[in-house]
Symmetry: C2
Subunit: 311 residues, 2 copies
């Protein structure tokens, strides 16, 4: 099934302790769609770029089975640009530059041919834009996954809550879950957020893994301990793209399939952080991905013999 | 099999956002031995207390199948006292008081009847004292587990490395693993530490779970997301006590049994943090423990269908 992705397509310039890049291909929708394509998925992006956006980048997306007809090109505008510098621990970063450019006036237009698709991923964007995208669908998609961030909690609270009320799955990090709910304990935070509308909540904890909440159930997926974290940019978007890409590809949105989807998202994200930009995803082959999925499986397996212990 | 535990038996005074205690029973050896006793284990403590240590506390330990003959009582001395205040996030704390008292001149004496026991837990203490305990054994125990902390890395580096070279399992937290190895990535840190002597390394990450490293294998155990963290004091010691207690009780020190031991340690620690001091452990019954072990199992289980995804 085709997946529709709305989100930024952008230039990133990244500095890490290991090196720096010029303006390279970035953006939430880019990582999401590329991650989904690695699972055999077909996706269509809804976004906007400027006249400075190189045709090779569009070609790269198309070569990965990604429909780019929904990417509006504003000929006399410039593409959204973000630049950041990671600290030595690779867990924190400073934003050096944010130029909204054409994103500042973005009015999303979902192509006719996308409007009956069943899987919709709302990448991190202004909540009102996310809402406009949902409203352009002919019928409500089977599954809507929404990513967001603390910035919108600070600046667009009411809009944000409205969109959260319209989606099936919300993905946020642990600090954002605490901010959104006003609860420190994640299990309490999850309970409150599940009352805001989404049936599923994914809390991303970066190098500490991810939690999936649904009703009274919780699933925990670890992050692989990696030799090198080279560039964390795009890790969260890759995770989200792997997650919804797996669900769209299998057509199964049960809780047990969502567990697998989380593992696929985590595995794909582990490749993204090992290289600059989208390089890790681009170079990835199926065998490497399967080996890594197996490592996730092995890492958490244990058998229990309940009743053996005596209290 | 009997487990020998060396470590502090102490008074703690604890302040948390939820309340405060007067001087209550605490100390690493206390939590370790009580946790092991919850798995049916029989342990003997090697420690020292002052004349101010109430007979009821010794009685409590004895009632839990703990041999206290190795706890020296210095009649005219005072018991080790620690006081701390936890911050609102419950992950950081300020030490308000540390009175070494009788611990300042502690010369451990392992009772004759303990000296052939096969499981030895070195709770966090001066490395030279940990070493003296090992040397008093008639033959080397089958398994020696050592806990330590950053303080000894700062003040007793050479002694610390010597003891680390004598043990089978080292348990430290993630920051300590980084400090000990000089490596930020935990997988690299683990590789270096395993070259220092221990065959197994447990890296404790608190609310983010624990990692067990052995040769090229890694096992990850999550921490349960809890409703309330009431008092984190003793969580690490409870974890260690559950870990070695399970191994001693089953007599099996294979990697696969160590995985189970980590889960038992994690489950027991989750009860400790739900109450002040040792109360959570004391009130725990077998059914509650088994239910929690089952929750750990359920939380990480997923099945995979490798080859389903197409790259």
């Amino acid at each position: 099934m085709r997946l529709v992705v709305v989100g930024t397509v952008a230039f990133d310039a990244i500095e890490t302790p290991f090196g720096k890049t010029d303006k390279i291909l970035g953006g939430a929708a880019t990582y999401i769609a590329l991650a989904a394509s690695k699972l055999g998925g077909h996706s269509g992006i809804v976004s906007v770029v400027g006249g400075d956006f190189p045709p090779e980048h569009l070609q790269l997306l198309q070569n990965n089975n990604i429909d780019t007809r929904g990417i509006e090109i504003v000929k006399d505008g410039r593409t959204f640009f973000w630049s950041g510098r990671y600290h030595n621990d690779m867990n924190s970063r400073d934003t050096l530059v944010t130029e909204l450019n054409v994103l500042g006036n973005f009015q999303p237009h979902v192509p006719e041919s996308y409007r009956s698709d069943e899987f919709l991923m709302l990448g991190n964007l202004t909540p009102s834009i996310q809402k406009q995208v949902i409203e352009q669908f002919v019928k409500r998609p089977k599954l809507i996954v929404m990513d967001t961030m603390n910035f919108w909690m600070d600046t667009a609270w009411d809009d944000l809550l409205e969109v959260i009320g319209m989606v099936d799955v919300l993905t946020i990090n642990d600090a954002e879950a605490r901010q959104l709910s006003g609860e420190y304990a994640l299990i309490k935070a999850a309970r409150k957020i599940l009352q805001m509308g989404p049936r599923f909540l994914v809390i991303k904890k970066g190098e500490h893994g991810a939690l999936l909440f649904h009703k009274n159930e919780v699933f925990f997926a670890p992050a692989l301990p990696l030799e090198e974290v080279f560039d964390p940019t795009g890790a969260g978007d890759t995770f989200a793209g792997g997650f919804i890409g797996y669900l769209a590809q299998t057509g199964d949105i049960s809780f047990s399939n969502m567990k697998r989807a989380i593992i696929y998202g985590s595995a794909l994200a582990s490749f993204t952080v090992e290289k600059f930009g989208v390089e890790g995803l681009q170079q990835l082959n199926n065998e490497e991905l399967e080996n890594r999925i197996q490592r996730f499986f092995d890492m958490v397996q244990f058998d229990i013999k309940i009743n053996q212990a005596q209290v």
